[in-house]
Symmetry: C2
Subunit: 515 residues, 2 copies
């Protein structure tokens, strides 16, 4: 057994079943080990951002860490943007990176680079270790896996020099015990109960992390039913259980002014696995903090505590009734030209039971969260860190985590172009992913930002914000990667196309022209 | 005048004429300034790697630093792989990155990240500065520009918080004097003369950096004519003047065994703006250093010295005759199925006078350097740092630096997929770039590496190395980005297609099926 085989065997024992990879020469022993040690499904990405974004989507749906294999410093560099999103989603991940042989590295060969520096720069809380030799590889992987399973989710980078992969190792390692998230005390729970009871509609439970899953939302809904408090989450929640019999959670608007209106009446906020909301960008004379100074804040559960357990205990302590499902009905299928409103309603009107919806449609899906509140039960994944190009890869990973569920990938056109290579992996793996590209042929958000700032938009600014010269043909791009595609510009056609695509096996792409 | 305008005006005064950019919200004042201050041509990349790779290609051909504008930490992250190549090419570049407003950053908004850490991790010699306020922006840019113009080429990162862009500034700054590369002493020159005269064919001039340009190669050729020494360069020279009346320079083979054979007979090597060659990767029981222990090394010029001047002085001191042009004739156009041999000959047989050839065809173009030695005068750009995905962007940048010259972009299919978005910018800018994708539908180099290592290739290894399931349709991908395309599988058709594409305006893509 060599070091690479000891790593793969340790990974399989720890429950990893997929390796999202874009390997190179310094990972060949690991590639060979994935051949010789059964248990890891190899999923190739044609670009590293497709691998890390897929791992993020996989981990959010599977509820356990994902495994990624990348090539040296430039390979990691290409995966960093979606690792940034994963960090902001508090996704757990083990990223294995091959390094030059230990005796070769001091010669500074052309592909040498500062892998540890990149890892630490993308996440200040990253776990980063370089294996010293083949005999430590298995133990180091087990330590990385434990770190990944600890709360809150964490990016764990294990750098394995080529000689540590090909030299002889002793044995695989057993998974290590990880500490469970700590339980919230009765005193903190009782304080939150008083706050919410006293506050009524002027109080809110602010949900984050695992509390947006089914158990957390149901418990929060019971608390809302008992106290009249509002349920809120940030602008970009990582993974939210929605629809069906679940109560709805309000999502903070993106721009500071509607965000301020949304929270204006709040006097008390109870944070649960959530940080206090701040505006996405800073604007002149606009405060960074969304909550007013007069609004009292307290935490029911910190990021490393058991927020779901705390919510359930709080609901029980309040003797709370069952949660009320979202009051609104699912929208009827709309008709007419597609715009952000009809697009959002069209998707919500046809999305199937059990869907996973990956939402990176940005300006085109601003109304989707509300429109889909009473859709059949689904899970909603957002881009979390603002590093655009998360959608197509995350849809790939989500589909691999739940192959029996249809995935709807709502994708802004500008953003989708950062990691379009993920379409090929969707085709190779034969996954039921329906990508709807919202083709408005611009970086619409930047056009909005320019008009917000009062700048007149001249020729150069247009050159940086519009994507019409030449127009991008998403149908051709999809076919280039082996994904069947079609173009629609009306809501009726979009509804029909989504229904058909979901019903057929394999991936599809619909280019939806949006005004 | 605000800080952004002071930056743009300073850049224009310093001679920058293009801004390769993928901006976001934190760069909007700079985008507006590019509108209001004339002089910078805005070139949009749909992915940051297209911008940094284009800047590298531009700087190599223009012979002066390039300017790039990126968005926060994830935007920089997406550009890092091609910055790695630029660093290894010793390309000079000023990379401007917007940062959150100074008072917003401490709130750790979702897109916040360690921009300085990423910059330092990609290049240990990087110049990195974050502007403290609007009044320092112009001076800081002038300092970045000076650092970029110093030898050897350097990546210079200027991080500009949004408030330093929109707050009031005083004035633009004048360009700063940069120190010229130091002249090589007569003693060092005379020692090199003795070494080469004594060594004859067992000695070599090892050329790097600027010495591979026309003046350097002509001087080196004179020295070879006078002393009988060989002319050599590393496996991946950044920018080489070739063909026409120029003498040829041998290029070190990629794999260690042929590289060792190539230098086996060398007893003395004189390095000129070059580092000692090391193997690209480490292999068990293979030395990292290519030159034997018995081979004496000396430097005629270090990386920060004037190697071209030193070569010319040395040629004069030797009273050397004119350089002899490459002895071989340009190959006839071949016929038959395309393989690496016929592909290389086909390109060399038809490439037009004055072409710029960007070579990232890897395993498909191993014979091209030799085949093109006696082609009409051209410049040859290589991927330098092994971070694949440099070719399409570098061709974009090279074409912008020399719009009157045809650009031939020889592109491996696997590598091209990392930054295919650059095709769109080629179309938008209407550039005469002919991309030939060598479609062997595999990561061929990894297949070779696996067979070198003696590993049997099982199903998982195949999953990580072959790109046939589904096949990638490069013609469709090109059309998706607005680039006309066609597919060929025979050498005659390739020759004809290249001739036609070069003669027509605007970009073209030829998918060459290679066995």
């Amino acid at each position: 057994m060599n070091g690479a085989e000891s790593l793969v065997q340790t990974a399989v024992r720890a429950g990893y079943d997929i390796c999202f990879a874009n390997p190179g020469t310094t990972e060949m022993p690991l590639v060979a080990a994935i051949d010789s040690v059964p248990g890891l499904r190899p999923v190739l990405g044609l670009f590293e951002g497709a691998c890390t974004g897929a791992a993020d989507g996989y981990a959010r749906i599977a509820g356990r860490p994902a495994l990624v294999l990348l090539h040296l410093a430039p390979g990691l560099a290409n995966g960093l943007a979606n690792l940034h999103n994963a960090r902001r989603a508090r996704t757990s991940m083990v990223v294995v990176i091959g390094e030059h042989a230990s005796w070769h590295l001091p010669h500074d060969p052309p592909l040498a680079g500062d892998i540890e520096g990149l890892a630490r720069a993308i996440s200040p809380t990253a776990w980063v270790t370089t294996c010293s030799d083949a005999k430590t590889v298995a133990r180091d992987f087990a330590a990385a896996d434990r770190a990944a399973r600890e709360q809150p989710g964490r990016l764990c980078f294990l750098i394995v020099p080529a000689d540590a992969q090909w030299d002889a190792a002793d044995a695989a390692a057993e998974p290590l015990e990880s500490t469970a998230p700590s339980t919230v005390s009765d005193a903190v729970r009782d304080r939150a109960a008083r706050t919410l009871r006293d506050g009524g509609a002027s109080a809110a439970l602010w949900l984050g992390g695992a509390t947006l899953g089914e158990r957390g939302v149901l418990a929060a809904g019971r608390i809302a039913a008992a106290t009249g408090c509002r349920l809120l989450t940030g602008s970009f929640p990582a993974c939210s259980a929605r629809g069906g019999a679940l109560p709805t959670v309000e999502r903070l608007p993106y721009f500071p002014e509607p965000a301020a209106s949304c929270v204006e009446s709040l006097e008390r906020v109870v944070l649960v696995e959530a940080e206090e909301p701040v505006t996405f960008f800073g604007y002149p004379k606009v405060p960074s903090q969304v909550l007013g100074e007069g609004c009292a804040r307290e935490a029911l559960a910190g990021l490393d505590e058991d927020g779901v357990g705390a919510l359930e205990a709080l609901a029980d302590a309040l003797d709370a009734p069952p949660a009320a499902p979202a009051g609104t009905a699912r929208p009827e299928s709309p008709s007419g030209r597609l715009d952000p409103v009809t697009f959002s309603r069209a998707v919500a009107s046809v999305q199937p039971e059990g869907a996973i919806v990956v939402d990176e449609a940005l300006t085109s899906s601003t109304g989707y969260w509300e429109a889909a509140a009473a859709a059949p039960r689904y899970d909603h994944l957002c881009i979390t860190g603002g590093a655009i190009g998360m959608g197509i890869p995350a849809a790939l990973g989500a589909a691999l985590a739940a192959p029996e569920r249809p995935v709807l990938s709502l994708q802004a056109d500008g953003s989708g172009l950062y990691t379009l290579q993920g379409l090929w992996s969707q085709a190779r793996e034969g996954l039921n992913v329906t990508t709807v590209v919202c083709s408005n042929r611009s970086y619409r958000i930047l056009e909005v930002e320019l008009s917000r700032s009062g700048e007149s938009v001249g020729e150069s600014a247009r050159a940086f914000t519009e994507l019409r010269r030449p127009p991008i043909d998403w149908c051709a791009l999809a076919r280039g990667f082996g994904v069947p595609s079609e173009r629609v510009d009306r809501a009726e056609a979009l509804c029909e196309s989504i229904r058909r695509a979901v019903a057929e096996e394999g991936p599809h792409l619909i280019e939806a022209e949006i005004v």
